[in-house]
Symmetry: C2
Subunit: 449 residues, 2 copies
């Protein structure tokens, strides 16, 4: 997420920038990023991606090469040269407020707000939406998967195994980060380990087993190099036969685990556990993988499959049943040079937006559980006992304070989920939550819409 992303935007952001520049529109604009409608199969979303967004905003520059490319595009034929000088000197000078990463949120709630000279606020649109989309959507999905894995109260780890099916190498890293924030215990992605300190996990591939003359040799060779970290893949040829083979091998005493990657995981895990236990290998853990998701995992947990941890890939990193949120980045107010604030909203049917820079006030019941969210203007005082969710992140182009560590973000997700009533966590039946509005917002809506 660096200056290489300056052109990874929709062309209209840059044409509008030229238009504002040439028309001398210097007003300060406020844009809000929110999820317009809640996905049918989600009861909550998880705010994720702010760290990457902030890094992008603070470092956004247009290189000479970028500017030269733009200048040569036929569409900019009538754009004056000083616009390109402006781009060369571009540096974000505005303010950003956002929900901290890890916050639970719902449709229609602003998650992030940018207030800046209108050109600056506009050119951020695509990258902000795209990064918040992938990380928030994967975090919400991963939270469901993680919850399913321990639905009976027994702690079972979920590891992100999805990099190979993520939408390119960068998406694999962003998804790994989001999955860890949402409660996964680690990832197979090494770069995510290096960049974000996420524990990296791995076993062996079928190819390793096939590369040697038989499973026994393959396992012994691996164990020789990774004696404390041997998790053996047992389904290359015949799963049960392989587990029987393992319990007669010398390495068994030091074995960390076995991995089941295909077949009926319920039946196979029970058989494998039986064989291992009979051989006195209660310490050998069972890891299951292979096209898993929250529903399959919930089924295995319910059936008391003796699986200790799950490796989850495709469904989690692509958020397969909901691969994108309906995120929008909408203009909500404009402050003219003389200080006048004009509220802005779209009024077209089904696409109405609520004007004004807003705040989300979260209300809790007497037990500290989530009760409701009420949306007010940012200038309103927080109601007694309610917590305002949006906080200043960037002021005058500078970070207001260090962002929380990924471990802190992970803790926030866990705390936010713990405060959600269980009806929100039913993976089979989604719950629709509509935020309330303060009387000031309701008054604004009635005046403008």
């Amino acid at each position: 997420m660096n200056s290489h992303n300056s052109l990874k935007v929709d062309l209209y952001e840059l044409t509008m920038a030229a238009g504002y520049f040439q028309n001398k529109v210097e007003a300060r604009a406020t844009f809000e990023l929110s999820c317009h409608t809640m996905p049918k199969n989600r009861s909550f979303l998880v705010a994720c991606g702010l760290e990457q967004v902030v890094e992008y905003i603070l470092n956004l520059r247009f290189s000479d090469e970028d500017v030269a490319f733009l200048k040569d595009l036929p569409v900019f034929r009538h754009a004056k040269g000083n616009f390109f000088d402006y781009l060369k000197n571009f540096k974000f000078s505005g303010d950003v407020w956002a929900m901290p990463e890890g916050e639970i949120f719902f449709a229609r709630e602003p998650v992030l707000q940018v207030e800046a000279p209108i050109i600056e606020a506009q050119v951020l649109e695509t990258c902000l939406l795209s990064v918040m989309n992938i990380e928030s959507v994967v975090a919400a999905k991963a939270a469901r998967v993680v919850a399913a894995a321990s639905a009976d109260g027994v702690a079972r780890g979920v590891i992100d195994f999805g990099s190979r099916r993520a939408h390119g190498p960068e998406a694999g890293v962003l998804a790994a980060r989001a999955a860890y924030a949402a409660g996964c215990i680690g990832t197979s992605n090494v770069y995510a380990g290096k960049e974000f300190g996420i524990p990296a996990y791995g076993t062996i591939a079928h190819s390793w087993v096939e590369a040697f003359d038989g499973e026994q040799e393959a396992f012994e060779r691996y164990h020789a190099v990774f004696p404390e970290n041997t998790v053996l893949l047992v389904d290359t040829y015949d799963t049960v036969g392989c587990v029987r083979k393992i319990v007669s091998m010398p390495l068994k005493a030091h074995l960390k685990g076995i991995r089941l990657d295909s077949g009926d995981l319920k039946v196979l895990s029970k058989k494998a556990r039986g064989i291992l236990d009979k051989a006195g290998l209660a310490h050998v853990k069972i890891l299951a993988s292979g096209n898993l998701n929250e529903y399959k995992i919930a089924g295995l947990v319910k059936a008391r499959a003796p699986i200790d941890s799950f490796g989850v890939g495709t469904d989690m990193v692509t958020s397969r049943d909901c691969p994108a949120l309906d995120l929008t980045y909408k203009l909500v107010q404009i402050q003219e040079k003389d200080g006048t604030v004009k509220y802005k909203s779209k009024t077209s049917p089904q696409k109405k937006t609520i004007p004004g820079r807003k705040q989300v006030f979260r209300h809790f019941d007497h037990k500290g559980m989530f009760r409701k969210d009420v949306i007010g203007l940012a200038t309103e005082k927080a109601p007694e006992g309610a917590r305002p969710l949006l906080r200043p992140v960037i002021r005058d182009g500078k970070l207001t304070e260090a962002l929380p560590s990924l471990e802190t973000v992970r803790q926030s997700v866990a705390e936010g989920l713990a405060k959600l009533p269980s009806s929100f966590k039913n993976i089979y039946k989604s719950k629709s939550v509509k935020p309330g509005y303060t009387s000031i917002i309701l008054q604004l809506i009635s005046e403008l819409l």
Copy 2:
């Protein structure tokens, strides 16, 4: 796609690499990348992403920083120092065969093959799968969208508007490339325009309209800077009222088009067309956008909605109904140092793999239309009239010849689709195609599985 991606891999690739190194396994391995099972709602797939894959393979290096990070990981505690020296000097020295980009393919067919010292072949796995996954899955989806847009024989352009909902900025670029290869006429993504020469398109946002005192001022201000490229967004407040306003404005004579982004596109496009035509503005085109996909577009085309082009986002760039292919990268043979070739396959139920480096022979009927694919060993002679799909791309770590341009790839997709019988192109009902096998392959299967 550069050396920054060296650690964007699954940890097990690097632990296996250390394992092979330390165990002195120096055999040459052949891995094949294919789609294990066909998605239920696709009748064909489109090979895409080879250019990025080749760039990755040719440039894969481990920096000192990468190596230092790996060396410090507890899992590598027993890996000997010369493995890390090996990584520092890593350079791919093997061979790659692949279907050219733009080729139509089906499940179980090898799309790409890597033959190299086993460590080198193994460490490529994640990046190869991830890049081929996103580009191939988007290309297949985009081909459906593009076909739907011109289903009645009238040419209507489809523009990729999906960057904001792609899985991060890189995914937006890869998706734009794949969508263009599959027949889109352009993209909103500026970087994809710069990097791949794809025509970049854009209009204006609702925020532009709202930033001024009324639509008329907003439109005139934009037109002043982009006189030949004015496409006005008409649904900010009242779509039909806005079109009526436009036909009385001086800029109307030079207007390129209007964009409808919400509401009933069939009704609104008919009303807008009527108003424009009545005002003598037959030259003003109508572009429609807003959560479109092949089904909605087919409906609009069938209903004779007078729409000239479509901007398509989320559903296309995330391939929403199938966000990932069941791609695998499997060991198929090993050549020992003495030249002996050993065929390799998994035999676990439902996950059987077919051994040996293979070739796909495409057969055509007397009209030149696709008839069937037959999979044989790579060493077999192509049957009379059949075309072998896999070609050498890299030999001894070097590109065999320049890769085709993206325009050539786009042409290949168009030609491949033209040769597919129409039953493959029914977007409502998918068709299942199973490749045949030559007698040599059948013999091999019966011996090993």
